[in-house]
Every structure is written in structure tokens, then in C-alpha cells.
């Protein structure tokens, strides 16, 4: 533990020392995403921002100049729905564990979290507000010490839309940079959305214990929100002489959120969410999408942004050889990585999310699978950068290499999505990180470490 601490301090002091110098990367191929690619140009970073970019950039004296010959500069990748940076979220949440049973370590409660909410008693209905953490803010929870951040950076990710990790209403997400001296340095914007996961607390933990209960509950809470907003509007207009409406912790969480993220992995789930989403009267993003190859037209018509999970479905490990996968499973294993390509072709706005793919090689492999599945490299880069920034309304500061944007860059030797490509530098807020070769290769696979059965999927659908 002590060693980790020492290392962390060492890393942070290096980080602090870097700040004042302007950094120039010159003679590099620059993929701006927002505009045309610059075959040979320079990017100048100063004060944590992109000060200039183009084929001819005047480089100030005293700048640290990086010779970019043979290198490609991309905007830093954004994980569009993440738990990176949330302490205790590294372990996947069990789908149906009884309340109070040992499970994933709970997210550290924020100061505002009443302890009573952390151990909810058995709930009997929506009035008990089961599994509701809508008020929890990723911005209050996020920490630069999450060990997954280094791996994420090594795969080219500089930024993540990160969300708290428990309950049906998971809480308020924040767009965070994946490095920083202190937690507060990481946050770019918040709240950026409310994530919803359909899940039961296990058989005996009470309502909701079914998918229909989940949906009914989400619907009810948004109905409550509607009423709550109206009551407050009326009150604000006529404070004197109007009885004050109650303050509702849970609804405040919903009210603050500019959008809601809804899960839909399979075709039927997509149908359900496309019809349910509009009921909430809040802009929504659909996440999951592995079977979206059956619903491309519907998604296009709905004109809703979507996030594709990078945890591609695959043959479960350690499966009984007598248990033959069914045709639909086989098709999903085969066709899911083709979904991004189909979405791009249909011009559906989409991004990627890591979905517990946490090591650099796995992330790279997962992204490459999408490219091999028919997604053009340019579209892939866009889905990892500007599209996500646009979805969250942050394209004024993130997602492309443009003057004035946050200096989040990833510099690769070779083209992204090529096997031999290595990440040479990562800049976050203008600070350089050089991912170690070890991190890029991923942790040593221990004997038997990966032979265990797959953990249950998060949530129900």
C-alpha cells in the first residue's frame, strides 16, 4: 500500500512539473476530426489548451518540441459511458444479488448521501424509492488513483463520461479527464446525464423484482419529476401565499440531469426503449446495442444517439461442450462488431463505451474488431471523439483538435487500429503521459485467472 502511495506521489510531482512549458508536436500527421486531416502539421499546446494547429504553426521559443515524424496525432479518445475513476467500480456489479449480501464494494457515499439510503430496507413499491441514487454525483466520487486510468490512457483514452455505479437510477455522470493531481482537476463538466440500469435486488429484497416493475418505477419517478417541477414553478411565481413544495433529494437528481441513458442490448430491448424513452420527456441516449443490426432503420428513424458497448459478446469461457450455443447467440457473436459500421452507414450518431473492458490491449482489440467489422477508420475515430462530445453538448471544448479546445491528445506511431501501432504520448489537459510498454501489453495473464466463468451481466433487460 505504501509503495502505491509513493509511486502516486512521484507520478503527481512529475505531472506538476510539466505544466508551464508550451508543447509543440511538429511534422506529424494530424487527424483533427472536425476538419480535414493535415498530412504534415503541428499542434501547439499551452496552458492546458490547444493554442494552435495547422500545417504552419509558429512555435514559441522555449517550447518543448516533439518531432512528430511518423507519428499521428488524434484527439484524446472519450469513453462515452464509464466507471473509470469511480473508486470501487472496478468490480462488475452483480446483476441480482440480494440486498445486504456481500457483493461489489459500494461506491463511497458522497457527503450528501444519507447513510439510511445506503442500506435501504426492503421496498414495497415506488414510494420507497428502491435502488435510487439519482442524486449521487460522479464528480464527487471520482478519484485519480483508480488504477484502471493508466490502462485507459495506454489505449488512447483521455476522457470519460463516468457514472456512479449502483442502483436503478445510478446517479449523475460527469465528463472527466483521466488524469489529474486531485479529483477536482479531472472534472470537465457535470452533471451530464442520469444513467438507468434495469436490475432487481434479488428475490427477497423487494420491489422491483421484475423488468416490468423496473420500467414502471422509472416511469413513475419521471411522472413525479414532472409534478415536482410544476409545483416549484408555481411556488417560484407566487412565493408568498403558496405553501412551499417539499424538497425531494431523488427528484433533484433527475431534475439536474440534462439527459438520461437507457439500456438496450437486444433487438426487442431496443424496440422497448425507443418507445419508452420519449415518455420520460428528457433527451435520452440508448446504450448497449449489440443486436442493433436488426434495428438499424428503427434507430435511424428515432434519431436518438446511441452508445455501443465494447464488450463484444463472445463464447463464454469454460462452457460445457455439450451446451451448444444457439443460432441467435452465434449470430450475435458474429454480427455485433458490425453494428458500428451499420450505424455509421445509416448516419446514426454513435459512440463507444468501455463496459468493463479495462485493459489497454483489450480495449484496442475491441476497437479493432469494430473496424474489422466494417467501420471506416475515420468514422471510428469520430465515434471515439467528437461524436461523444456532441452527444453530451461538450463539442465546444472536447472531441477535436481545434484552437481553444482542451489539450487532450493521443499520439500514436502508426495508424490507430493497426496491430503494431503503439501509443507514444498521451496529453491530458496539456500534460504528457508516456504509457509504459507493459501497460500497453496489458497485465501478465496469471494461470487460471481468465478461465473462470463469465460474471453475470450487469442488470436485467
Amino acid at each position: 500500500m505504501k509503495h502505491v502511495y509513493v509511486l502516486a506521489v512521484a507520478a503527481l510531482s512529475a505531472y506538476a512539473a510539466d505544466l508551464p512549458t508550451p508543447i509543440a508536436i511538429r511534422d506529424a500527421r494530424v487527424v483533427t476530426v472536425s476538419g480535414a486531416e493535415i498530412p504534415k502539421g503541428a499542434v501547439l499546446l499551452r496552458g492546458g489548451l490547444i493554442q494552435d494547429v495547422g500545417p504552419n504553426v509558429s512555435i514559441p521559443a522555449g517550447a518543448w518540441v516533439i518531432d512528430g515524424t511518423g507519428l499521428t496525432v488524434y484527439p484524446g479518445f472519450i469513453d462515452a459511458l464509464s466507471t473509470w475513476g469511480i473508486p470501487g467500480a472496478a468490480e462488475p456489479a452483480g446483476g441480482g444479488r440480494p440486498a445486504g449480501a456481500p457483493g461489489p464494494a459500494p461506491v463511497t457515499p458522497s457527503p450528501q448521501t444519507p447513510p439510511a439510503q445506503a442500506q435501504a430496507p426492503r421496498s414495497h413499491g415506488p414510494e420507497d424509492r428502491p435502488q435510487t441514487y439519482s442524486f449521487e454525483r460522479a464528480a464527487d466520487l471520482v478519484s485519480p488513483t483508480d488504477r484502471r486510468l493508466e490502462a485507459a490512457r495506454a489505449a488512447g483514452f483521455t476522457t470519460a463520461a463516468t457514472f456512479p455505479n449502483r442502483g436503478i437510477f445510478e446517479g449523475l455522470g460527469a465528463m472527466v479527464n483521466l488524469a489529474g493531481e486531485r479529483s477536482r482537476d479531472m472534472v470537465i463538466a457535470e452533471p451530464i446525464g442520469q444513467q438507468i440500469v434495469f436490475r432487481t435486488g434479488g428475490f427477497f429484497s423487494g420491489f422491483p423484482n421484475s423488468l416490468m416493475g423496473n420500467i414502471a418505477y422509472v416511469r413513475q419517478l419521471y411522472l413525479d419529476l414532472d409534478h415536482y417541477k410544476q409545483a416549484h414553478q408555481i411556488y417560484d411565481a407566487h412565493v408568498s401565499g403558496t405553501r412551499r413544495p417539499e424538497y425531494d433529494h431523488d427528484l433533484e437528481g433527475l431534475a439536474r440531469s440534462p439527459r438520461v441513458l437507457l439500456p438496450a442490448m437486444e433487438a426487442q430491448q431496443i424496440d422497448r426503449i425507443l418507445s419508452f424513452g420519449p415518455e420520460l420527456k428528457t433527451p435520452f441516449i440508448v446504450y448497449g446495442l449489440h443486436e442493433a443490426y436488426r434495428r438499424i432503420d428503427e434507430l435511424k428513424r428515432a434519431n436518438v444517439p446511441v452508445l455501443v458497448s465494447l464488450k463484444w459478446p463472445e463464447k463464454p469461457k469454460d462452457q460445457d461442450p455439450a451446451d451448444v450455443p444457439n443460432y441467435r447467440e452465434l449470430e450475435m457473436w458474429d454480427r455485433a462488431p458490425g453494428v458500428p459500421g451499420l450505424l455509421a452507414k445509416a448516419q446514426v450518431k454513435f459512440g463507444f463505451y468501455s463496459d468493463r473492458v479495462d485493459t489497454a490491449p483489450d480495449l484496442k482489440k475491441a476497437l479493432k474488431k469494430a473496424v474489422d467489422g466494417g467501420l471506416s477508420r475515420a468514422d471510428a475515430i469520430r465515434a471515439l471523439t467528437l461524436s461523444v462530445a456532441e452527444m453530451y453538448g461538450l463539442s465546444d471544448r472536447l472531441g477535436s483538435i481545434d484552437k481553444g479546445k482542451i489539450a487532450n491528445l493521443v499520439v500514436m506511431k502508426g495508424d490507430a487500429f493497426d496491430d503494431k501501432t503503439t501509443v507514444e504520448y498521451v496529453f491530458i489537459d496539456g500534460v504528457q503521459f508516456k504509457p509504459s510498454k507493459e501497460t500497453q501489453k496489458g497485465p501478465e495473464k496469471k494461470e487460471g485467472a481468465t478461465t473462470g466463468p463469465q460474471k453475470p451481466e450487469r442488470g436485467i433487460n
Partner: protein, 440 residues
């Protein structure tokens, strides 16, 4: 009111017959189409039953003193049907624990006897009779070869002795045809719990490596138990003060002597193959019960002369991508492979449906005669009573049904039923309900 009085009058008329010589288990059934099952059908024939046994059958049988005559003009006579796998008499209402006497805990319970747990007053007995069933195997373990109580986790392997019971009798002693017809067994299996179910149960699905290890341990446990029984038999023969009686091992002696078959529930190909290998190694007789697929086991079962008790045909296919009719065609697959088959339902409340389970197989390729055999003579032979039940032959027990058609057809009515020559009522909870609501 009237029907009640009518019944009294009928009873009063019948009474003197009992008093004056007509034994109630002797009867001459005339003018029927006889379907002996083991022989070609006889048009316009008669069957004479004396003291519960079939004495004669043919076209011209004279009335006999002491045997009343039943005119079966226009009707058909079949041997009573057998359901080769049920829990009839051992469970009344499955959700009321007090009425259920099944599924003892512990890996090996061969000493448990279903026949003494059999409740001769069970409502299910009359209900089951309604579709022409005169005898059933009552098993001490519930469920079929898949998800059942007996199949859960490190559950029971040997559940006890299954009894062949007549669906008639004042007491279980009277009803028993063969008290220990089979020793009921759930073959160990590798049950990978689907992820969704695991999630529902709040557990994590376990990997194959671990489950396979456990499976092999359980197979070893089973072999050890059989070998212990063998040593026990020797020790018993040798006698001496060191010998101690053990009910469990004692109950295994007929099994290791090859007299009583093990009734092995084995659903998947692997379980069937491993069960056959086990039987080979331990030199015990087995019946494969409720296979859900045939795989490559056909030739294996045929060469080992191992019969099969099929479970319900009306169920979903084993795998998602199997053809919808896989369970319907499965009986024919075994038949074509040369395996002797019969039918069971592995339950209580639907035990009466066994003719229709077989009929579904007949509709999907199984020859009609074979479907009928699978409810009669094959069942009797597989259960070791081929010389007593299962066909209309001289000397056999007179389990007979008088019908207005093929008993495999749902629209056929069972008009009269004789068990061991004694006419039994076809009234049941269902007919009583029907009569009641007719009056509304």
C-alpha cells in the same frame, strides 16, 4: 336426487349376483373387437375372465356360470394402459408439503419404498384411470431428467424403490403388483445453470471445469456405493458376528444381482453414455428414463439391450435451435434405432395424459402399433412383468379397458375398466365436477 336413488337401485340389483355365485372378478365380455396387442385383432370376439385372470379369448366362448356377461357390442377391448413413470399416490397437492412424500435427502436411499408411501385414497388414482390407465410405476423421486428436485446440486442419486401399482385396491398391499419393480435413480449430471437463472438465484454460474470435477466425484461415489453393496452381500453370505445389517446396502442386493433394474434418469447424450458405461462396469441392469435426446446413443442402447422409458412428448425441445417437433419425433428415433421403448409422464396430475403423449409420437412417425405397445406390452416387459400384464393373452392378469375407439385418440371414451378382472368405477373428481356443473 334421482341419480342417487338410481344408483341405489342398481346396487341393490347387483347385490344378489355377488351373493349367488357370480364372483366379482370373473366376467365374460362379448361381441367386442379384441386388441390383444401381441396378436392380431379379433373381430366380434369374447374374453372370459375367471378369478381375475384371462381364461379364454376367441370368437365363440360360451357363457360360464359364476361369470357375469358384459355385452360389448360395437366396443373395443384393449389391455389396460401402463404409465411407466409417475408419482401417483405419493403426492396429492404438490404445494402442500404435508401431502407430498417424495424426494428424501441424502445421496443414496435405495431402502425407501414407494409402495408403502402410496396413498390408496388419492384422488389422482381415479383421475388417472379415466383415460384407460390401469397400472403405474410410482417413483419416490420427483421430476424428470432435467430440472427437478432430485436433480438439484449435490442432491440425491438413488431415490428409492419404485413400485408397480394397480390403480385399484383398498390398501397399498392390495394395489401393489410388483412392490420393488425398479430402483429409482437420478444419474449425476453436469448442470450448468443458465446465466439468467443464476442471476435470479443471486449466485454466479459455475464453470465447466469445476462442475466436471464434481461430476466425476459423484460418479465415483456411485461406483463406491455399488461396490460396498457387493462386499456387503458377500459378508452377509459369510455371516458371523461381525456382520451388521444395513438397510441401504440390503436394498441394493437385488440390483447387483441383476434382478431389479436401476431406473436411470438421464437426459442428455453424455448422461446416457456414462450411465451405460456405469452399468457395464458394475454389471447391473438399467432402464434409461426420460432421455431428451438420442445423439449417438441408439446403437449403444441396442447393443446393450437397454430399454428406454420416454418422458413427455409435449414439451419444449432441449435446445433453442432444435426443430419444434424434436420431442415428438424422439420416441420414433429410439424405435428406429431398435431400442425397446415405453412411455411415462414423471408426474402426478398429468399421469392420465400418457396415452396422448404416446399418440403425439405416433402422429410424428412412430408406428401406431408401437405407440400402443409403449403403453402396454413393452411397458410390462421393461418393468419385468411381461408375463403378467400388457396384453390380452391367456393366463395374464385381466387388466382390460372397454372403449368406443382407439385409446390414443383424445375423443375416445373409456366405457368400462377391469383391473384384475374386477370392474372399477370410472368416476373421478373430474366427472363429479362435470356432473355438478351440468346441473347449473
Amino acid at each position: 336426487m334421482w341419480p342417487g336413488i338410481f344408483r341405489l337401485i342398481v346396487a341393490a340389483c347387483l347385490l344378489p349376483m355377488g351373493l349367488f355365485g357370480a364372483a366379482e372378478n370373473s366376467v365374460l365380455i362379448t361381441n367386442v373387437t379384441i386388441h390383444p396387442v401381441t396378436a392380431p385383432e379379433i373381430q366380434n370376439g369374447s374374453v372370459l375372465v375367471i378369478d381375475g385372470k384371462i381364461a379364454e379369448l376367441g370368437t365363440s366362448i360360451a357363457a360360464r356360470e359364476g361369470a357375469r356377461t358384459v355385452d360389448g357390442r360395437g366396443l373395443h377391448l384393449y389391455p389396460g394402459l401402463i404409465n411407466a413413470a409417475t408419482n401417483v399416490g405419493l403426492s396429492e397437492i404438490s404445494s402442500l408439503r404435508d401431502t407430498v412424500d417424495l424426494d428424501e435427502i441424502g445421496p443414496f436411499n435405495p431402502e425407501l419404498r414407494a409402495q408403502i408411501a402410496y396413498n390408496p385414497s388419492s384422488e389422482h388414482i381415479a383421475v388417472t384411470r379415466a383415460s384407460g390407465i390401469t397400472a403405474v410405476i410410482s417413483l419416490p423421486g420427483s421430476g424428470a431428467s432435467g430440472f427437478g428436485l432430485a436433480s438439484q446440486g449435490p442432491g440425491t442419486i438413488i431415490t428409492g424403490q419404485g413400485a408397480l401399482m394397480h390403480l385399484e385396491g383398498w390398501t397399498w398391499e392390495e394395489a401393489a403388483v410388483k412392490p420393488s419393480a425398479v430402483v429409482d435413480m437420478m444419474f449425476p449430471q453436469i448442470q450448468t445453470v443458465p446465466r439468467q437463472i443464476a442471476s435470479f438465484l443471486g449466485t454466479e454460474p459455475r464453470g465447466y471445469t469445476e462442475l466436471e470435477k464434481e461430476y466425476k466425484q459423484r460418479l465415483e461415489q456411485l461406483s463406491d456405493f455399488v461396490e460396498r453393496a457387493r462386499r456387503y452381500e458377500k459378508a452377509k453370505a459369510a455371516g458371523g458376528p461381525e456382520f451388521r445389517a444395513d438397510a441401504k446396502l440390503e436394498a441394493m442386493i437385488p440390483v447387483i444381482d441383476g434382478k431389479t433394474p436401476l431406473f436411470v434418469r438421464a437426459g442428455k447424450e453424455r448422461a446416457i453414455k456414462d450411465a451405460v458405461a456405469f452399468a457395464d462396469k458394475q454389471k447391473v441392469k438399467i432402464i434409461i428414463a426420460d432421455p431428451r435426446e438420442i445423439g449417438s446413443t441408439g446403437p449403444l442402447l441396442k447393443s446393450h439391450n437397454i430399454p428406454v422409458v420416454l418422458g413427455k412428448t409435449f414439451q419444449l425441445p432441449l435446445r433453442d435451435d432444435d426443430p419444434y417437433d424434436a420431442p415428438y419425433t424422439l420416441p420414433n428415433d429410439f424405435f428406429k434405432a431398435g431400442v425397446k421403448i415405453c412411455f411415462g409422464t414423471f408426474d402426478v396430475e398429468f399421469a392420465r395424459n400418457v396415452p396422448f403423449e404416446a399418440a403425439q409420437a405416433a402422429a410424428f412417425g412412430l408406428p401406431r402399433d408401437e405407440a400402443l405397445k409403449g403403453l402396454t406390452i413393452n411397458s410390462a416387459q421393461i418393468l419385468g412383468v411381461g408375463d403378467q400384464l400388457g396384453s390380452i393373452e391367456r393366463g395374464k392378469v385381466a387388466d382390460l379397458i372397454l372403449t368406443d375407439g382407439d385409446p390414443l385418440e383424445a375423443k375416445t371414451n373409456i366405457k368400462q375398466m377391469f383391473i384384475a378382472g374386477r370392474e372399477v368405477s370410472l368416476e373421478s373428481r373430474h366427472t363429479r365436477e362435470w356432473e355438478k356443473w351440468e346441473k347449473r
